[in-house]
């Protein structure tokens, strides 16, 4: 080997090693690596059945089992544009580099997945590969669904194929270069898709394993609640530490006592997941509201408890921008407490006070109480602004309760003023939103 050749070979080797280390560092741990116990293949696990449907559906037909799993995986919310037929696609995901549209997953042969074989469907859900061989963008959370068993994926397929075929073609994506290069997803997928099925952990309880399967493979909590790394994949070093997704803040759901779920009681968590509200913690709105309405509220009670058991085990990661404790109840009189922002106060008096009260404890319903919620205690006021813009509706066994959308009634400036007033009065630190911030938040939500 000549001297030049040796230098060239050396550079290539160094480059490959550097890329390898880079990939390893960026990729970080997998979603279940924190547990650290002994993993066994599903077939070798005897202590319980972490996959599939709950006991009451064990004897149900394939379609019914698939329906439960499709709801647990929350396919519908992303694959349905508001006002259109279920699962017919077309929901817009607005990203910094363009817009992606969800696809039609009804069994229509031309515009849906009617021609998908079992293998095609498994390829899409577990490997991120479309029937024509093209790669899916990871807005489709196949890096989570990859942990589903083939049996469960095909049950979902059977359910989807039992639905009416809807002819609906989603608009073309409008991604800018280089993000419009689908082939690049081959590399992304090779680095970031673990492409492995769920493996139970024998050091943990059967309940924990069921919760891990539900939370990671199906409910894909991390897709919103785990921050992303340089490659836009989940950074599990900060697993469940919270992130901004689709313009809403998905709060910290790690076991951190101050800013995560560490101080929530089991009953709080069960209530929040199954009805979208827990006393003193507010009500689920935005994307989490949809997750409760279409997914968690349909879970069997034992499955909710399993998710709670699993969440408890996720290591604490603090959110340094959130206060250590949420603010107490504000004064009952409008005179006391924060009055600095006169415009925000005027708007609050006219549009908000009748339901939320001046103290933050709602005279209408505990579901409308602001005191204690992270939304008003987040100094960025992200979710306060979003709820004001788009409103919210909670369905409970006792009936629905809703807040109207003010996005078309108030200017960006007014929404910023009221959000700044609300966070100052009911939270620990007032936000400093500007009209420009609100305009940006409006632009980020999926529709």
């Amino acid at each position: 080997m000549s001297g030049k050749m040796r230098i060239f070979t050396g550079i290539v080797v160094i480059a490959i090693v550097a890329i390898g280390i880079g990939v390893f560092v960026i990729r970080g741990p997998g979603p279940l690596d924190f547990a650290g116990g002994t993993k066994v293949a599903l077939v070798d696990y005897r202590a319980g059945k972490p996959t599939g449907v709950p006991a009451k559906l064990e004897k149900a037909g394939l379609v019914e089992r698939g329906e439960y799993l499709a709801k647990a995986a929350d396919c519908m919310v992303c694959h349905t544009k508001p006002g259109e037929k279920d699962y017919s696609g077309g929901l817009a995901f607005k990203l910094p580099f363009g817009t992606l549209y969800s696809t039609n997953i009804t069994p229509d042969k031309d515009t849906g997945i009617g021609n998908y074989s079992d293998r095609d469907f498994l390829n899409a859900v577990q490997h991120g590969k479309r029937r024509d061989g093209a790669r899916l963008y990871p807005a489709m959370p196949y890096t989570s669904y990859t942990f589903m068993t083939g049996e469960d994926v095909l049950a979902v397929k059977a359910y989807l194929f039992s639905l009416p075929a809807v002819r609906a073609k989603a608009p073309d994506n409008t991604l800018s270069f280089p993000f419009n290069q689908r082939w690049a997803m081959i590399v992304w997928s090779a680095v970031f898709n673990p492409d492995t099925r769920f493996a139970p952990d024998t050091s943990k309880s059967p309940e924990w394993n069921r919760g891990a399967y539900l939370a990671e493979a199906l409910a894909h909590c991390g897709e919103c609640h785990t921050p992303r790394n340089l490659g836009f994949a989940l950074d599990n070093r900060r697993k469940f530490a919270g992130a901004i997704t689709a313009g809403w803040r998905a709060f910290n759901i790690s076991s951190d006592k101050a800013t995560g779920l560490g101080s929530w009681s089991d009953q709080d968590l069960i209530s929040y997941l199954s009805v979208g509200h827990a006393p003193g913690h507010g009500s689920a709105s935005g994307p989490m509201g949809e997750a409760v309405d279409h997914s968690f509220s349909q879970f069997a009670p034992e499955d909710i408890r399993s998710i709670v058991a699993y969440l408890r085990s996720v290591p604490a990661v603090p959110s340094p921008d959130l206060p250590a404790t949420t603010a107490p109840v504000a004064p009952a009189s409008h005179r006391d407490g924060v009055t600095a922002d006169a415009r925000g106060k005027m708007l609050f008096a006219g549009a908000c006070a009748s339901c939320h009260g001046w103290s933050g404890e709602s005279p209408v319903s505990p579901m409308a109480t602001l005191t204690g919620t992270w939304a008003v205690n987040d100094p960025a006021a992200t979710n306060v602004a979003q709820i004001v813009i788009s409103g919210t509706k909670r369905h409970t066994p006792e009936g629905a309760l809703s807040m109207p959308a003010f996005g078309n009634a108030y200017t960006d400036d007014e929404i910023a003023a009221v959000a700044n007033y609300v966070t100052a009065r009911f939270g620990t630190k007032g936000s400093k939103l500007t009209a420009k911030d609100v305009a940006e938040l409006r632009g980020q939500t999926a529709d």
């Binding site: 409008h334 209408v364 009936g399 309760l401």
Partner: protein, 156 residues
């Protein structure tokens, strides 16, 4: 799904069948025939439907009836028998507040709740309590004056 519900309204116990998520306003107007409380916007933004729940002004159009089962409801039909409500109604007549009248049961309920909690309100108290009650005729100046009359017991 309907369910038997019992409510204390205007000091009387009323029993009826209603879906638990039916807004209190619908129960009042359509089931109990108490049409003094008005439907305005249906989204808690105009105040026409204001009633008292445990003495506090609440928009009945967004309040599911299931949420008031153990609470005391007072409507415009009965507010005149509360001390603050009687003062407000008297002042309202003296100041000739009302123009078309559609919003006025809500205005009176909001004003009575204000005076019960704050017997001598100043302008900022009136703003804070009444800003959510809209009057398309623009009787706001007379509403403010009547609240002050009711509070101070003086004639204009």
């Amino acid at each position: 799904m309907h369910m038997a519900t019992t409510l204390t309204i205007n000091g009387e116990t009323k029993s009826f069948d209603a879906p638990p998520d039916m807004p209190l306003l619908w129960v009042l107007r359509d089931i109990l025939g108490m049409t003094g409380t008005k439907f305005g916007c249906g989204i808690a933004q105009c105040g026409a439907c204001t009633v008292h729940v445990d003495g506090k002004a609440v928009r009945s159009c967004v309040l599911p009836v299931s949420a008031v089962s153990n609470r005391t409801v007072t409507t415009i039909e009965h507010v005149g028998s509360t001390p603050a409500g009687a003062k407000v109604q008297k002042a309202w007549l003296e100041a000739e507040v009302i123009q078309c009248g559609y919003c006025q049961s809500g205005q009176i309920m909001a004003a009575a709740a204000l005076l019960a909690a704050t017997p001598h309100p100043d302008d900022s108290d009136i703003d804070a309590a009444m800003a959510g009650n809209i009057c398309r005729c623009g009787t706001y100046v007379r509403i403010r004056e009547a609240i002050k009359q009711a509070a101070n017991g003086r004639q204009s």
